[in-house]
């Protein structure tokens, strides 16, 4: 089901450092966590945008693989990374188009459509990508900051990253602003909370939903491309992005539909993945596959902790004091009110 064959921290110098975590130097650890989290941040934020408008795109896991495959194949054939990334985005958008059309205009179950599409996209990716398995292709390499030489050694290691890293960080800021302060962001939120009221205020909920789904799934495609063109370069079976779509879906809940918290969750997951590699050498008797699988259930089961630590807050509102108040602030998760429901527009 999932196997991560290539270590996430490859490509970074592993010379001795002053601070070590296990047998990984701290700067390398931070750099690898940042790099490993980037595609996931982009994918999870894409899904978050989609869900903000009230639509769940459950096809994420297949969509990520499909767009990763398309991005790699197109980048290889055109020998251009930008074209590859855009193609990946468009591939993601196609899945969004299908989910959007089926759920918004045909009023079918979003879960059913998403799940079927997820399996279809996965198999389609393996089928069409087969000739490109284990083929060398273009890869986005890490680039240095313009003032690289002025930084201390520690920061030099952390800031030497592919361009996807600043893109993801910029995206977080952009989305925080978009949903907090922009008019369009408010419209998307209002449709996700109460489409009928939004309609009464003169908005066109179906169109807003469709546009949001397309934008969100475009980002999902970019995230998929970030796997096959940067983090785990190349295509194969397994690619290494298997299961990531499901984690992104869980992260949206974990992050309570807020961009910064979703990104934080992605960093947490990447940390689990990277530290799994470090732990492997500490416990040589446990097969490495267990460490590669472990972050997935761990991430999902954090949802249980969230449920229990916020049960008081949910019952009594946010008036509580002390520990429960803080747990509530930390772990409270509130979905858009009409998430998953289809709205029949007059």
């Amino acid at each position: 089901m999932l196997r991560i064959e290539r270590p996430v921290c490859s490509g970074y110098a592993t010379e001795a450092q002053t601070i070590m975590i296990g047998d990984i130097p701290l700067s390398v650890l931070v750099a690898s966590v940042l790099a490993a989290s980037v595609p996931l941040i982009i994918i999870a934020l894409g899904e978050m945008i989609t869900e903000k408008s009230g639509v769940i795109n459950l096809s994420l896991d297949g969509a990520v693989l499909f767009s990763a495959m398309v991005a790699f194949v197109v980048a290889k054939e055109s020998d251009s990374l930008i074209v590859g990334f855009l193609a990946g985005g468009c591939a993601g958008m196609v899945t969004g188009l299908i989910v959007g059309y089926f759920s918004i205009y045909l009023h079918l179950s979003q879960v059913a459509v998403g799940f079927a599409l997820s399996l279809l996209c996965r198999d389609l990716a393996y089928f069409l990508g087969n000739p490109y398995s284990r083929v060398q292709g273009p890869t986005l390499i890490s680039s240095k900051l313009p003032f690289h030489d002025m930084l201390p050694d520690f920061l030099q290691k952390i800031t030497t990253q592919p361009l996807t890293v600043p893109f993801a960080l910029g995206l977080i800021v952009l989305l925080v602003w978009f949903f907090k302060s922009s008019r369009a962001g408010l419209q998307v939120r209002s449709v996700g909370e109460n489409p009928a009221a939004a309609f009464a205020r003169g908005l066109n909920p179906n169109r807003i939903q469709m546009l949001t789904v397309l934008a969100g799934s475009f980002l999902v495609g970019i995230g998929g491309a970030a796997y096959s063109l940067s983090l785990k370069p190349g295509w194969g079976r397994p690619q290494g992005a298997e299961g990531i779509g499901w984690i992104a879906l869980a992260l949206v809940i974990f992050g309570s539909w807020q961009p910064s918290r979703v990104a934080l969750g992605a960093l947490l997951f990447a940390f689990l993945q990277v530290s799994g590699i470090g732990l492997q050498s500490l416990f040589p008797t446990i097969p490495s596959q267990v460490f590669q699988t472990a972050p997935f259930p761990l991430m999902i089961f954090t949802l249980i902790i969230m449920h229990y630590s916020t049960s008081k807050t949910r019952k009594h509102g946010e008036k509580d004091s002390g520990l429960h108040k803080w747990l509530g602030i930390l772990f409270m998760s509130r979905a858009p009110k009409s998430l998953g429901k289809s709205y029949r527009q007059e």
């Binding site: 079918l108 459509v113 399996l119 089928f127 087969n130 000739p131 097969p287 596959q289 259930p297």
Partner: protein
């Protein structure tokens, strides 16, 4: 009636159209691909018996899913339930001291049911007590089961000398379920699958249990007014679903692979989810559609050798079938409204 035929025609042409398009993109001969799938699945008794070995676990999983769908639960944890069923069954088969093969196999069957059922119960408890939607709880448990089976195969149950992805040691011949001479499918497998179909039909359509599950599935809040506890029935339905999945896991180890391999579920759980959706959550089409899906799976095995295309073509066709059916359904609802 005329409308129905027209709908089916639209859906079938969508599937053929899309699949042909995909084959054209992959630069593969379209007609040859369809012909080879047919030749590889239904053209000989040997192939057909192979199709039946896939049909058995598919039918078992679908029966379980009918129960959970009836209560409006998405039992995505079914893959993990198959794995835990297989592990439970295998634990008994590896037990030293027992001599009588029939006894060992029966005990193993029970253990597989318990393994799958327990894993289902966990997913149910995560939903009712842990506040985790069954899709995510099930997924998490799938990952755990996957990690567990890998640990067993590479750790305590590894083959003497070498631990590898090819799985544990082969079972002794006396613990293989017997099959008709020249056939691949086991007598017991067919019998169990057909019994499962009949039992599922009886329980879901002819008993109070089925009615209550339906009531909860349609409206859990209203069901409470009739003294039906949603929590209890959620758990019951997902335990039953897990038990059926566990049986499928038992079949995989005793009748198909004769050992434990990392991919013991073969993805049949997810495939059964598609199958039940395509069947419109009804039992009558399931045995026939399961035969169709199993035929696609078996028929596409030889595609890489004959046509140099990947065997995941079957998955593309299956997924496309479901989406086309959903599309036609959506269109029909739309017509009804206008």
């Amino acid at each position: 009636m005329k409308q129905l035929i027209q709908d089916i025609f639209v859906a079938v042409s969508l599937v053929f159209g899309f699949t042909s398009l995909v084959l054209l993109i992959a630069d593969a001969p379209v007609l040859d691909a369809f012909k080879n799938i047919w030749l590889g699945s239904f053209a000989s008794t040997m192939k057909f018996s192979q199709v039946l070995t896939v049909w058995v676990p598919l039918v078992l999983c679908s029966c379980g899913l009918l129960f959970t769908f009836r209560a409006n639960l998405w039992n995505i944890g079914i893959e993990g339930q198959i794995i835990m069923g297989a592990i439970g069954g295998m634990a008994v088969l590896r037990m030293p001291g027992l001599e009588n093969p029939a006894l060992i196999l029966s005990l193993s069957f029970v253990a597989a049911i318990l393994g799958g059922g327990a894993w289902g119960l966990l997913a149910g408890l995560l939903k009712t007590r842990g506040g985790v939607h069954e899709i995510f709880g099930g997924l998490g448990l799938n990952f755990v089961a996957q990690g567990f089976i890998l640990w067993l195969i590479f750790g305590p149950w590894k083959r003497p000398g070498i631990a590898s992805m090819s799985g544990t040691e082969l079972l002794p011949l006396k613990l293989w379920l017997s099959s008709p001479p020249g056939w691949r499918v086991a007598y017991a497998g067919l019998a169990i699958a057909i019994t499962a179909l009949i039992l599922t039909w009886l329980f879901l359509y002819k008993s109070k249990l089925g009615l209550k599950l339906k009531a909860i599935g349609k409206n859990p809040r209203a069901a409470v007014l009739y003294d039906i506890s949603p929590e209890g029935y959620y758990l019951l339905s997902i335990i039953i679903g897990g038990a059926f999945a566990g049986m499928a896991g038992f079949m995989q180890i005793t009748a198909v692979y004769h050992r434990l391999i990392p991919a013991i579920s073969s993805g049949y759980g997810y495939l059964a989810l598609l199958l039940v959706m395509l069947a419109g959550y009804r039992i009558v089409p399931i045995p026939f559609l399961a035969l169709f899906f199993a035929g696609l799976n078996v028929g596409s095995i030889q595609l890489p050798i004959v046509l140099q295309v990947d065997s995941t073509l079957s998955g593309v066709i299956q997924g496309c079938c479901v989406l086309s059916a959903l599309f036609v359904l959506g269109m029909r609802q739309r017509r009804k409204q206008s």
